[in-house]
């Protein structure tokens, strides 16, 4: 419990330190931005640490993290001092501030408790996440070294890991605990941040019963973002209790939940039946995974799924940061002055903040920077539109945004220089498209909730007032569609694109296009009437635009040949979930806060949405007990406790390496490839090394391995011949060390890899046949021994003068 408390204290401390800055930007928020102070503190302090480590001012280790905290405290003091209204803001918003910190605390401990039932860092891409966390903590220099490719820096968007490392390092908890508490911090920060934004929006939108509406919107925002899930959860519950209605299942495209017919082996349920579950919830192993794969050939992950799975991925860690970005955009929109270059001159700090936060989005999860910069640009433009004529508003907005954009590139240049993207340009999506049933299951609840803003707006403007805005707004879906058509034609895919898309695909496209049109029209109408509801409609429109866009366009990456829109749909729908959660929560509360007799339509529309909202929580209701075995698992917050329990020798070996080898040490461990004994020597077996224990020592200690997961390196550094050859060469060298014909061969390979240690752990014993294995005892020093596992040290001789 002590590490959890210490970690939580540091998270809270960082938020307190960020509060003066948050209060200055979000003065008009009910909590003075306290809920947003968590991501803000992490981003700003994290950036300071990154920069000062890069220029070698801050030392490696816990002391460096603490010094970053101290430096941030000084900045915080300076900001508080120059804000004459700071104390008054704190007093006015004290209830909101306390509520935000309380919400963070409750969410943090609740998630930590949940995670403790399933704390193991193993499976899926968790070893990779742990690797990056350890890289941030252990790297002797910055930008951090890549522990899965010794001699190279990390080529990934790793700001989220750095932020988790900041709290882990400063609080001094073990990285394997910091991993799980980092997840808890992200969960709690996202909760506090979304509550803050929803509360602010509702307070601006709803005039009556503000206190109740504020609380309801904050709670609903948290619920929609973090607890609502795919409506597949309802079918999962029904199927688990063997309530089958074949027609309904087929109508919703979830017939794979039905039991297999005789002779059927795929796309059906083949597990035990009668009963199908032993509990009140579905107890099928990882049933909840299916909800992230509802739309074929895509990943349709959503926050609740992410937190149940427990991968510390960039898009998950970015959640609080993107909500912060949205909040900044909203604060600027609701500001009182024009946003042009003069605004930057008057308040250069806002420019710096924009550069740090929005530049940080790219560093955190590169996909986010375009979307949320667009949200910012839209907000700035909307603000200026109230002050200037359209042309001048655009110029002023461009002038306001240009400098922070340039500064963002410069400020994060140490990272950009190392970052190699695998993205290969914009392409038209030429597949079947998403059928309406699947789109409804995944996004229906949120889209319909967000569309309530249209009903809410209907009372605020006469129908004829919407005609001109509608004529402008129609161009948004049309331009996106035209881009698709042009790109398809340009790349010669037009006929394929037109033929492949099914009727269901066209229908979904049309429905999303209509929703987008309606929301864009609403946003313009409300903005022209200076309504505080305009930002809500705008956020909803951007959310739907992302889903609409994912039906039309894609970013080419390494999956282009097989599942082309996998990542595009995954990343864009995740962003849409955030935006629609905020807009949906506010729109729902706004709709039901209307006097019923004045806006019956809004109330009537809200009723089915309310039902859908309730049904969307079925997913979490089933997944949480499933993940924890009905809260029957042994609890431990240490992510390596499973290893200590299952293989104490391997655990001891790992701990020894973490404690006794220098941070930049190159340590040879199994490449992960399988070798089989043969009369003519060992033979390589087919099979990849991804998602296995390959690179586990590097992952668990941050020490450098010559090569880790091969294909992940390809993804991070680009799929080209030179990279593949280099990665293969390293695999060959590593395998050559373990299967060397002679000492000289082994030593030559070790020297070429620049390694100081060789691991003979459980994986090495499994991958390299014993009869062909190099006899390291003969020529290396045994540095550590536990059972039959060893760490060898390459002998060293060095002359030291003494006088």
């Amino acid at each position: 419990m002590a590490p959890v408390l210490v970690f939580w204290s540091f998270a809270l401390l960082l938020a307190l330190l960020a509060l003066p800055i948050a209060a200055r930007i979000f003065r008009r928020f009910p909590d003075a931005g306290a809920g947003l102070a968590f991501p803000l503190g992490l981003m700003l302090c994290g950036y300071g640490y990154f920069l000062l480590r890069t220029i070698e001012v801050l030392p490696h280790g816990r002391g460096g993290f603490l010094l970053a905290f101290a430096g941030f405290a000084l900045i915080s003091a300076a900001v508080a001092a120059t804000d004459r209204r700071f104390i008054a803001t704190l007093r006015r918003s004290s209830t909101g501030i306390i509520a935000s910190f309380a919400l963070f605390t409750v969410a943090f401990f609740a998630y930590a408790a949940f995670r403790s039932y399933n704390s193991g860092i193993s499976g899926t891409e968790q070893p990779m996440d742990f690797l990056f966390l350890n890289a941030m903590l252990a790297s002797p220099s910055y930008p951090p070294a890549d522990p899965w490719l010794a001699g190279h820096n990390v080529s990934y968007y790793y700001f989220g890991y750095l932020q988790s490392a900041l709290l882990t390092g400063a609080s001094g908890v073990e990285p394997s605990i910091g991993y799980n508490l980092g997840l808890a911090t992200v969960f709690a920060s996202a909760a506090a941040a979304v509550a803050s934004v929803c509360a602010a929006l509702v307070r601006w939108v709803v005039r009556r019963e503000r206190q109740r509406a504020t609380l309801t919107a904050a709670a609903l925002g948290v619920a929609l973002l973090l607890f609502s899930g795919s409506l597949l959860g309802v079918f999962e519950f029904a199927a688990a209790h063997e309530r089958y209605n074949t027609g309904l299942y087929e109508a919703f495209g979830v017939e794979s939940l039905l039991p297999c017919e005789p002779g059927q082996a795929e796309a059906c349920y083949a597990g035990p039946t009668n009963p199908r579950t032993q509990s009140w919830y579905p107890d099928e192993f990882w049933f909840w995974w299916r909800a992230s794969r509802v739309i074929p050939d895509t990943i349709t992950e959503f926050p609740a799924f992410s937190f149940i799975l427990g991968d510390l991925h960039p898009h998950v860690m970015a959640l609080p940061g993107v909500i912060l970005a949205v909040a900044i955009a909203l604060a600027l929109w609701r500001g009182r002055s024009a946003l042009d270059w003069r605004a930057l001159r008057r308040g250069p700090l806002i420019g710096l903040l924009l550069a740090l936060v929005f530049g940080g989005l790219a560093f955190q999860n590169t996909w986010d920077v375009l979307t949320f910069s667009a949200v910012l640009a839209g907000a700035v433009l909307a603000r200026n539109w109230r002050v200037f004529p359209p042309g001048q508003a655009m110029l002023a907005s461009a002038a306001f945004l240009a400098l922070p954009a340039a500064a963002a590139v410069v400020l994060y240049s140490p990272w950009w220089l190392d970052f190699g993207t695998a993205a290969g340009g914009l392409h038209a999506y030429t597949g079947r498209g998403t059928i309406p049933a699947h789109a409804f299951l995944q996004f229906g609840t949120l889209i319909l909730a967000a569309l309530l803003v249209v009903f809410w707006a209907a009372r605020r403007a006469p129908a004829h007032a919407a005609v001109t805005p509608a004529l402008y707004a129609i161009w948004v879906p049309i331009i996106a569609f035209a881009m698709w058509a042009l790109l398809a034609a340009f790349r010669g895919d037009w006929s394929t694109a037109a033929q492949e898309r099914t009727a269901g695909g066209w229908t979904t496209l049309l429905l999303l296009g209509l929703a987008l049109w309606a929301l864009c029209t609403t946003a313009i109408v409300l903005h022209l009437r200076r309504s505080a509801g305009a930002p809500v409609a705008f956020l909803a429109a951007v959310g739907v635009l992302l889903l609409y866009g994912a039906e039309l366009l894609l970013i080419r990456d390494v999956f282009f040949g097989s599942v082309p829109r996998l990542n595009t749909m995954f990343k864009l729908s995740y962003q849409a979930w955030v935006l629609l959660s905020i807009a949906g929560a506010v729109a729902f509360v706004a709709a039901i806060s209307e006097p019923r007799r004045r806006n019956l339509a809004a109330h009537l529309a809200a009723a089915p949405v309310a039902l859908l909202l309730v049904l969307s929580f079925a997913y979490v209701a089933g997944a949480v007990p499933n993940r924890t075995n009905g809260f029957g698992n042994e609890t431990n917050i240490d992510g390596l406790a499973f290893l200590a329990r299952n293989d104490p020798d391997e655990y001891a070996l790992t701990r020894w390496i973490a404690s006794n080898t220098p941070p930049g040490a190159v340590i040879i461990e199994a490449s992960g490839r399988r070798w089989q004994a043969g009369d003519d020597g060992p033979t390589l077996q087919p099979g990849g090394v991804e998602y296995t224990d390959a690179g586990r020592i590097a992952s668990r200690t941050g020490r450098l391995a010559p090569i880790g997961w091969y294909f992940h390196q390809v993804q991070w550094r680009g799929d080209n011949t030179a990279n593949r050859e280099e990665f293969s060469r390293r695999q060959d060298l590593v395998d050559g060390v373990y299967l060397a014909g002679s000492q000289e061969e082994a030593l030559a390979a070790i020297a070429e890899l620049g390694a100081g240690y060789v691991v003979m752990g459980r994986l090495e014993q499994a991958r390299y046949p014993s009869q062909h294995r190099t006899d390291f005892d003969a020529f290396l020093d045994v540095a550590f021994e536990a059972g039959d596992l060893r760490v060898y040290r390459v002998p060293r001789v060095e002359e030291v003068p003494v006088s």
Partner: protein, 549 residues
């Protein structure tokens, strides 16, 4: 408390004030044990590492133990003149000798009595005494921090002192860093806008210090190095002392830190009072509280690390705060109704003494007594607390509570300061130490080499321990395996005997650790009453020589 007493109505009319006598006496109390420590203190703790680093710097050997603080650089320079630790320690002592002067200059703030009491407390703080005389990289820290505080709180300082202070802080250890952060934070919070030229000069001086440190003050490029940052950070990764900060605090400095906390709370309680209120703390007192708060935060965060500086960073402002409030408390004692207070105090002492005698007896046998005995001690303890609580609630007598508190705190402070200062055997601080045995071993090795010339091989795990005792001997081969031509091999205990070599008999050790008696209250009491009752744990090594046959 500016009582001036005439030292006799002499014919010459020379008068010596009581305060002057006190300044001289307390100055001597601070300096004399420290001067003795220059020669008597065993080389240990971070001093050992930093002396090793400085020594290697003089030889041009790249060594992480050389942290380029100004003192380290000067220390290396002095080691090239004389290979013993004496000259660097004398240099540290000279800096420490200015501490009474700095406190003397703080009289307008602390008051005469407050400054004197602060001097007394600093003199009795064992870790501060050690840091002020040991040749660690942070040896200038106490003096620099104190002078920096003087500069911050004394009005009308000449401008050129600020760049000097900035240079000093930038090239010192981490102790002044806590003050710099507190001062910076308060200044920023108050929205002070310093003179741009002065700011430029201060930043320039700090940058100069960082540049010089990065070049190792001439001992080679160290990478970008900010010595206070490096020395702040390193203890989190390395073990410089046997005991943790918490251990050393419990053994030596708890009365001071406790007093500092109480004093800081008393000051902070008046924080909100209007500035015009006569009792409201002035800016310097707020700075002192902020300094102490930052230092205590650091000490708490670093409580499980093994270094000296985090504790000294806290005891230094604690001494000033406690001195200030002790003086105020003593003033208040004049108004006490002594005739009632004495009686109660006397009873409390008597009851406490009865309980203490039993507890000391338990400590001697390392076991708690029978049930009846425990009950008696508990009753006596409760009775003591009850009497003191009564005094606390009885407003006219409340200030006398300071008497038992001071009496209780004085025991560990006085015994600690003198035992550490005079290098008492088996004192838990500093530890680990470089034993005499290690120097003997280096002499033995030299003798062996006269008969059997060849390389001296030292196992890599002993690399750090061997530098200091083997300085001025012969080049060493640091290796993980003994090469066949080795004349002497020094290996960890339990290592296999190298082929063709024979062991040299003897209990050899390159390092020994002194047990930290903090495992329980009885263990602590036993140590407090019988100082020598600590175990010394040498880390044995084996020494092999080439078999002449």
């Amino acid at each position: 408390m500016t009582v001036r007493s005439r030292a006799g109505e002499s014919a010459q009319g020379i008068t010596v004030s009581a305060a002057a006598i006190a300044w001289i006496a307390l100055g001597a109390l601070l300096l004399v044990p420290r001067l003795a420590a220059v020669w008597q203190l065993p080389v240990g703790g971070s001093e050992w590492l930093h002396l090793s680093g400085a020594w290697n710097a003089t030889l041009g050997v790249d060594d992480d133990r050389f942290v380029p603080s100004l003192f380290q650089a000067l220390s290396a320079l002095l080691l090239s003149i004389d290979a013993s630790e004496t000259l660097p320690r004398l240099l540290a002592f000279i800096a420490t000798a200015t501490v009474p002067v700095a406190l003397y200059m703080l009289r307008p703030q602390l008051g005469e009595a407050g400054a004197l009491l602060a001097l007394l407390l600093l003199a009795l703080d064992a870790p501060a005494a050690w840091l002020g005389v040991a040749a660690s990289a942070s040896a200038f820290d106490v003096a620099i921090a104190l002078w920096f505080f003087v500069l911050l709180v004394r009005p009308g300082a000449p401008w050129w002192l600020w760049p000097i202070a900035a240079f000093g802080v930038a090239t010192a250890g981490p102790v002044p860093l806590a003050l710099a952060i507190a001062a910076g934070g308060l200044a920023l919070f108050r929205g002070r806008r310093p003179d741009p030229q002065l700011t430029a000069a201060v930043i320039g001086a700090a940058m100069l210090g960082i540049v010089l440190a990065s070049f190792g003050f001439g001992y080679g490029w160290q990478g970008v190095a900010v010595p206070p940052f490096v020395l702040f950070a390193e203890p989190f990764e390395q073990h410089w002392t046997t005991g943790t900060v918490a251990d050393v605090l419990l053994l030596y400095s708890w009365p001071l830190v406790f007093g500092g906390v109480v004093a800081a709370v008393l000051s902070a309680l008046r924080w909100d009072q209007a500035g015009s209120h006569p009792g409201a703390p002035l800016a310097w007192e707020r700075l002192l509280v902020a300094w102490f708060a930052v230092a205590v935060a650091w000490m708490l965060v670093a409580s499980n690390t093994r270094a000296e500086a985090p504790l000294v960073a806290a005891t230094l402002p604690a001494a000033l705060l406690a001195g200030l409030w002790l003086a105020r408390a003593f003033d208040a004692m004049f108004a006490v109704r002594w005739h009632q207070a004495w009686l109660l105090l006397g009873v409390a002492f008597f009851v406490f003494a009865l309980a203490a005698i039993v507890v000391v007896d338990w400590a001697r046998w390392d076991r708690v007594g029978e049930g009846g005995e425990v009950a008696r001690v508990a009753i006596l303890g409760v009775a003591t607390i009850a009497i003191l609580a009564f005094l606390a609630f009885y407003r006219p007598a409340r200030p006398v509570l300071i008497v038992p508190v001071v009496a209780l705190g004085a025991v560990p402070l006085i015994s600690g300061a003198f035992n550490v200062g005079f290098g008492a055997y088996a004192e838990p601080f500093p530890s680990p130490q470089s034993p005499v045995n290690a120097r003997v071993l280096s002499a033995v090795v030299l003798d062996v080499l006269e008969e059997t010339p060849g390389p001296v091989v030292v196992h890599e795990s002993l690399r750090d321990e061997v530098t200091w005792p083997f300085r001025e001997t012969t080049p060493l081969i640091i290796a993980t395996r003994v090469p066949p031509d080795a004349a002497v091999a020094i290996l960890p205990a339990g290592a296999d005997q190298p082929q063709g070599m024979a062991p040299i008999d003897g209990d050899w050790a390159l390092v020994h650790h002194v047990e930290q008696p903090t495992t329980g209250i009885l263990r602590y009491v036993r140590w407090l009453t019988d100082r020598k009752h600590t175990d010394v744990h040498p880390e044995p090594v084996q020494v092999f020589v080439r078999d002449s046959e």
